[in-house]
């Protein structure tokens, strides 16, 4: 059976709604119609997740026309790689700081994003270094803000 995107989305939303509902129910605070208290907002959200998730699921079932894929398999891989680069960037920044990590992260992203378009290695390197330095100067010297310095130094 071919599962439609709306069905998958709806099912996931229902599950999230149930989880939120259970977690909210476990909060040790009173809930009454006279004063709903801190449980009210998450309960409303959970209720919305379940009802809307079910609605989206049913509407997905009713759809007759063939669905255009959200992304190709290669696209999902590219997206996962980009997210991985960002995750590594965050982790390494926590160790060796912004200034050393950012040119490498910017270079990696520029190279990945440039695939299939005109760009030179030299251009990408210069751009990555310049970008990192410009952001550093603006944040640190112009606005007096701080950037990750790294725990190893």
């Amino acid at each position: 059976m071919n599962i439609k995107r709306d069905q998958l989305t709806g099912a996931l939303l229902v599950v999230i709604g149930i989880v939120v509902f259970v977690m909210t129910s476990q909060m040790n605070v009173p809930f009454s119609m006279a004063y709903p208290g801190p449980k009210a907002l998450p309960m409303i959200a959970a209720f919305g997740f379940v009802v809307c998730g079910a609605g989206i699921f049913v509407e997905g079932m009713k759809k007759q026309e063939a669905e255009k894929p959200f992304m190709t398999k290669e696209g999902w891989i590219r997206m996962a790689l980009a997210m991985a680069v960002l995750a590594v960037y965050v982790f390494v920044s926590s160790l060796i700081g912004y200034l050393i990590t950012t040119p490498f992260a910017a270079y990696a992203l520029t190279t990945m994003f440039a695939k299939g378009s005109k760009s030179t290695l030299k251009g990408r390197i210069i751009y990555s270094v310049l970008l990192s330095v410009i952001i550093y100067v603006i944040y640190i010297y112009v606005f007096g803000l701080s950037l990750p310095s790294g725990s190893l130094f």
């Binding site: 995107r5 959200f70 980009a82």
Partner: protein, 497 residues
């Protein structure tokens, strides 16, 4: 109002503020012009830069980004036929055909003058009306405030694309995110898992940049950027509009201005809707409606005056009631709270000078935008040719840096990546993002007023027994069910025919 003039002038003429205004406007125009980016995103990304600024400087910078973004949106519509943002969708319909006829210069000039007209005059009206409306707002209690927040969120649902459930669930995601941290009134921890980073809530910058900026860039990369757009450089020269032509469009301009101002004033509505309504009104009122869509200048005047007039319209409920007129004003409310400015009727008593600085900045930035656009018209095609592989990594790095500056911790950068996954999931499921912004930012106000209302009367019935609250609640409920109502009405109409 007049007594604040010396303060406004003193702030606007400070060299640092002037530089920030010009830089902010230029960044805003670039973000507005490039399809996929927007003034809202510019405000989101650069908001943490304002943390070290005083409130006045922060207001000037943020407003410059916002107005620049709104005014720049027509550039993509005219030159590429792709709107820079939702506010310039209908500008494409006549702007791009004019470009194809070799009249890019004229189409751009109309966009510039129309944007200026809408922004400048709506700011003046906002400055004149806001304090009066704030005085009326003193009569409102938590019931009315809850109802207003409810309407603001649900009105976005009524205009969100796709089905009702998807709009509603987006708002629920926003409410769930707003629930994290200590609850208002009772100070009860919710979904914090003994994690100190979650105690103070999720943080607006982290959530919004993750869901909107990072997710959309990464998803665009996954889908493939495609080739850079082809822009006709040759016809981008000369302004080519005369006072006679402006006079000819005067009725269209006034009508579109009023539409924009009115729609902007409605909580939750904004330029995304006003440009469409103004365009169809202009077409319906035209003696030659068939020429619309084929390069009729009226089809640029109407949406551009209206979407920019929505700026002033949206500022009125933002300043007077603390209720955003659209997603960007919702962001601004959050940003100003960080600077100790709680928008709402009391703001005129406590920080009236800042509010009037806000209105003054909008009017001045409108002039700055006009000058920059006239002088920099030849550069517009170059803006649209910035290679994706240079632009998007820069935006991703700035997103990361913004998340770090917002919280002073890389933990929040990691959280931002989690929200990016949420954003990708929303894009996968076709769930709109605008209701999430409003629900997330209005969530705490909505909840605290709801709880206060229950504390005072101990029943939900009061929401329907107080006249203003009742009207708002009925409108809000109507908005939630508007897709069903529209379908039923459509079927009834079809049945009659």
């Amino acid at each position: 109002m007049i007594e604040n003039l010396p303060y406004i002038v003193s702030q606007l003429v400070q060299p640092f503020n002037l530089i920030l205004m010009i830089v902010g406007t230029a960044i805003g125009i670039i973000f507005g012009a490039i399809p996929g980016l927007s003034g809202t995103l510019a405000v989101m990304l650069f908001m943490p830069l304002t943390y070290s600024m005083n409130a006045g400087t922060a207001v000037i910078f943020l407003i410059a980004l916002w107005i620049g973004g709104c005014s720049g949106a027509f550039i993509g519509s005219v030159l590429l036929g792709i709107p820079g943002s939702a506010s310039a969708v209908s500008t494409c319909w006549d702007g791009y055909p004019m470009s194809k006829q070799g009249k890019s210069g004229k189409a751009l000039a109309i966009g510039m003058v129309a944007s200026f007209t809408g922004t400048f005059f709506s700011a003046i009206i906002a400055a004149l009306l806001s304090e009066t409306i704030a005085d009326i707002a003193f009569l409102m209690g938590p019931w009315e405030y809850f109802a207003l927040c409810f309407v603001a969120i649900t009105m976005v649902l009524a205009i969100s694309k796709g089905n009702m459930f998807k709009g509603l669930v987006s708002a629920c995601i926003g409410l769930l995110f707003a629930s994290v941290g200590f609850s208002p009134i009772d100070a009860e921890p919710r979904f914090v898992f003994d994690n100190m980073y979650l105690m103070s809530g999720l943080g607006m910058t982290v959530v919004l940049i993750g869901v909107f900026s990072v997710s959309s860039i990464v998803a665009s990369y996954g889908k493939g950027f495609g080739a850079l757009p082809v822009v006709d450089n040759k016809s981008v020269r000369g302004l080519g509009i005369t006072f006679g032509e402006i006079k000819e469009q005067l009725v269209n301009i006034i009508r579109s201005f009023l539409i924009g101002l009115g729609i902007g004033f409605l909580p939750g509505m904004g330029s995304g809707l006003s440009n469409l309504v103004a365009y169809s009104s202009a077409k319906n009122a035209s003696k030659d409606p068939d020429s619309f869509g084929k390069g009729n200048p009226g089809g640029i005047w109407a949406p551009e005056v209206a979407n920019n007039a929505s700026i002033g319209g949206a500022m009125i409920p933002m300043a007077a009631l603390g209720i955003p007129g659209d997603s960007t004003t919702a962001l601004l409310i959050g940003a100003l709270t960080i600077h100790g400015l709680e928008m709402g009727p009391m703001v005129f008593k406590n920080s009236g000078h800042i509010v009037y600085l806000m209105f003054g900045t909008v009017a001045v930035v409108a002039c700055v935008v006009l000058v920059m656009q006239v002088l920099g018209m030849r550069l517009f095609p170059q803006i649209l040719k910035v290679p994706y592989h240079y632009m998007y990594p820069a935006l991703l790095i700035i997103s990361m840096v913004s998340a770090y500056v917002d919280a002073g911790s890389l933990y929040k950068c990691g959280m931002m990546l989690v929200f990016a996954v949420v954003g990708i999931f929303m894009a996968y499921g076709g769930i709109p993002t605008a209701p999430l912004i409003l629900a997330f930012i209005l969530g705490p106000t909505l909840e605290s007023n709801m709880l206060k209302a229950f504390q005072y009367t101990g029943t939900a019935a009061t929401f329907f027994t107080r006249p203003i609250s009742c009207v708002m609640m009925v409108i809000g409920i109507g908005c939630v069910f508007s897709p069903i109502i529209r379908t039923v009405l459509g079927k009834m109409k079809a049945g009659k025919q």
